[in-house]
Symmetry: C2
Subunit: 532 residues, 2 copies
């Protein structure tokens, strides 16, 4: 067995961001990358640079910032970018990741017969040559090259070993084995990893990596089986997000390795107390909620509230508990700030919470904080996180909400009057009726903004307890007329959808903000594609 350190490779910003509606802005990606660095992940897969100019820019930004800390003594995570096995993708990837202190090019090619026949239309010989050439090309750019045989779970074992041996010979330093369609059982996946390590020439010179999908609910178990078989890198996403049923959840893989350390005999570099905060940030920015019964990060995941170490009613706390909430950073609500707290106190607390805001954003967040403190007695960390998310979500270059007034109820004529400031700086006002207050509000906004779209999802939840709580709204919209992105991994177009986020004590106002933030993203994408 190899050394006992398992690298955590986080793909929230690449595979996770491919979830329907998870589209993140560059600012959101950067905040998440900073938090991932704080969490202690070893590798951040920041995106797929060849997929679009936006992706290229975001990976570059993260490589320059998170990947290259000013303090030379500070720990810098590896910044990886995904690239198909072709020269152009690999060069674009290098262009973006080279700014990191530890850059990595992650290239892939499918090896299963079903993919060779239906997607690639390549022979096995073609695949072998392509892998050899492109891994060598990547290695000529970058010392750290990862190669993934896509759909390894359904590939012929002997052919797979041949491809992987060729990748090692050409300079690959990490070999990642994806169960792309989430089809294998832990036994199968564990044997696959063991067989590949046994059958590949030079296996002992590289790091083996697991990448599992959760279509049958087995992603975590499969990842662990791979580690037991000798893998020393786990590719995971926060909250288990990703296409379809998503990727193996970072929090589950890490906490299983941590909680059952004697069984697995390995360790990770993760600061587990950052898990809860990272989970909330990813849920807020992607608009993909976490169900209450989600392992580790769900609202009900722990039997007992944080901070309750003694409980007369409970005869022995270990009776029903295998982890303490504090271990993953679930802390009792703290009343951190009140209405008399100043801008400096807010800034200090935000830094503790892991946010780095520009002066301008901090100014806006402070104004919102004072407005909230006037209405709500208790301001918890979660409220501050919502305020900051709201600030980041509101684009300031497009239409912004200037004021609104809504009447609704059972009399059947919900009416909204909305005033927006347009990109030209002018104020526009429209009043409309709808089937409910949100419908009326959105129709009023539509009348001014005029970006045709369909509302796909709409969710609100209260952030903290109590009816005076902040309401948090996430929406997802699709542009009309088939706004599409090119899915470079699958080499086919995919419908482009845009998430929006808003928070306010008035849920109808929060709904308006969320809609405007999604419209901003859609309008920006339309302008970008129009210009391209």
């Amino acid at each position: 067995m190899p050394h006992p350190y398992v690298r955590i490779f986080d793909t929230t910003l690449r595979d996770g961001e491919q979830s329907p509606g998870a589209s993140l802005t560059s600012a959101e990606k950067l905040e998440i990358a900073r938090q991932l660095a704080r969490l202690g992940v070893d590798v951040i897969e920041a995106g797929f640079p060849a997929a679009s100019p936006d992706d290229l820019a975001a990976v570059t930004l993260i490589a320059r910032d998170v990947g290259s800390p000013k303090d030379p003594a500070a720990r810098a995570p590896i910044i990886a970018g995904l690239a198909r096995a072709n020269r152009d993708d690999i060069d674009k990837c290098w262009q973006a990741v080279q700014h990191a202190r530890h850059p990595r090019i992650h290239t892939f090619l499918a090896t299963s017969d079903i993919h060779l026949e239906h997607k690639l239309r390549m022979s096995r010989g073609d695949v072998l040559t392509r892998v050899r050439d492109m891994v060598a090309h990547a290695r000529s750019r970058c010392q750290d090259v990862e190669f993934s045989p896509e759909d390894a779970g359904r590939s012929d074992r002997a052919f797979l070993c041949e491809v992987l041996s060729a990748a090692i010979a050409a300079g690959a330093t990490t070999l990642n084995i994806p169960d792309t369609v989430g089809y294998t059982t832990p036994q199968e996946y564990g044997s696959l990893i063991a067989d590949l390590i046994a059958g590949t020439s030079g296996a002992e010179t590289v790091t083996w990596s697991v990448h599992c999908h959760d279509d049958l609910g087995l992603a975590t178990a499969n990842s662990l089986a791979g580690v037991q078989a000798g893998a020393r890198q786990g590719e995971v996403a926060v909250n288990g997000i990703g296409e379809r049923a998503g990727n193996a959840a970072l929090e589950e893989v890490v906490m299983a390795l941590h909680t059952r350390a004697p069984v697995f005999g390995v360790k990770t570099g993760i600061d587990t107390t950052q898990i809860a905060r990272t989970s909330r940030m990813v849920a807020n920015y992607t608009g993909i909620p976490v169900q209450p019964n989600k392992a580790i990060v769900g609202a009900n995941a722990f039997a007992h509230e944080a901070g309750i170490h003694q409980d007369g009613m409970l005869k022995h706390e270990a009776t029903y508990e295998i982890m303490r909430p504090e271990t993953v950073g679930v802390t009792a609500s703290r009343l951190v700030l009140g209405k008399h707290s100043g801008r400096h106190a807010l800034a200090a607390r935000l830094v503790e919470l892991g946010y780095t805001l520009s002066d301008e954003d901090l100014g806006r967040a402070f104004a919102e904080f004072k407005r909230l403190a006037d209405k709500k007695k208790v301001i918890a960390d979660a409220d501050l996180e919502a305020l900051v998310s709201d600030e980041l979500a509101q684009g300031h270059e497009f239409f912004t909400l200037d004021g609104m007034q809504v009447t609704c109820g059972t009399m059947g004529m919900p009416t909204a009057t909305v005033r927006l400031r347009g990109p030209d700086g002018q104020l526009h006002v429209v009043a409309t009726i709808g089937t409910g207050p949100v419908d009326a509000t959105y129709k009023a906004i539509d009348a001014m903004v005029q970006v045709p779209n369909t509302l796909l999802e709409f969710n609100i939840h209260a952030i903290t307890e109590g009816i005076d709580a902040l309401g948090q709204v996430t929406v997802r919209i699709a542009g009309e007329g088939g706004s599409q992105a090119f899915d470079a991994q699958k080499e086919r177009p995919r419908a482009r959808t845009f998430g929006g986020y808003g928070a306010d004590t008035d849920i109808v106002v929060a709904a308006a903000k969320a809609y405007l933030s999604a419209l901003n993203k859609l309008a920006f994408a339309m302008r970008a594609s129009g210009a391209a």
Copy 2:
């Protein structure tokens, strides 16, 4: 290896209902039990009769109805009730389940040293005697007796075999092995089951059963490992609900066995096309949402929409797909009914969807349907399901919403005027301001209803696409002054929380309905405990 049929034992109504806030009314439990029968589960664990008179009544109702179909040729699922290993619990359980055609008593006692010492304060010898006596007592009442050694995952292996052998000798027909705290790995749990089958006298005469919790994200994998080791019953809950991170999800265990049939070599009696509908019903009634990336039943779980069998852009659908959405009953939205549809058409469609409404409830649902059809062009099955859930959630014995009018927006004075009809038949009206429209509405309701409580959770989501969609609100409240229930399994009090549900095109009206439905449950519980 035993025969290839794996019984599916559904514990949504017992272990699932122990989720915080999942409290279900008897009417909701009955509807879910009927749907579970349609889904084809072999055993419905309907509740814990000794826990409260409500539980006893609900289990009795389900045993008489779902457990005893009028048509003697119709398939009747086994109806089980949980009972601690004492005479009183077992007798109460029998009192409830005896009305089913196939009744089962499920009794349990902890066997791990940590439980013996800290909870039971019993010696191993005491445990052995108690199991022998109480299984024999249960068997004297009922031919079908299941025994569970609680916290088996952390129990001494040899002692466990001794206890299980004694249970078989005393007449147990099913032995269930719970991993109560969700601590084991698939390898450990599989070996546990194999060792117990090997080490227990009479093992071949009983059905072995798995019961896994998801604290480390391994419940599904552990359940499957148990089946591979010889277990032929899986205890599961719809959507994986349950305390903390919940139970193994029915849909994951069933679809893994189904999709990978050649690997597992077993079959179940589940009609998989009923899975999606069952999942929606349980989410609606419990108020516990399913995250979009949840395996099998999440909104994003499938790569392609139902109904799309041909897609020019997709070269071969199996490339990225291991299950068809239709297999689990995810169907393309159907426009089933329009504004000219009559009461009969609505009733017929509701029967197809699996609902059996009283004439009175149908009348109310029809009125709501017409009201909705006036506002919304497209009425999908999901809309009808929401309407019915809304009807079931509204108690009609307490305060009901008669009318309301709300003004909100950015001017900072959200105001709600709410008119309720009280239990006395009189109308009451109150106007209040709040921090937002929901806060104002809830304060107005509080002023009339006067049942002190804390709002713990508040969620809204749109049921179907489009901004004219129905909004669906779920809330969870706790009574003030520590309204508590006795948790009979853990033998300690637990805080009682109450869920509420409402649906309307106006989300503020839906929020009012949801709050009233939760208040109805809380008021009913307070009256019941006051009378006891």
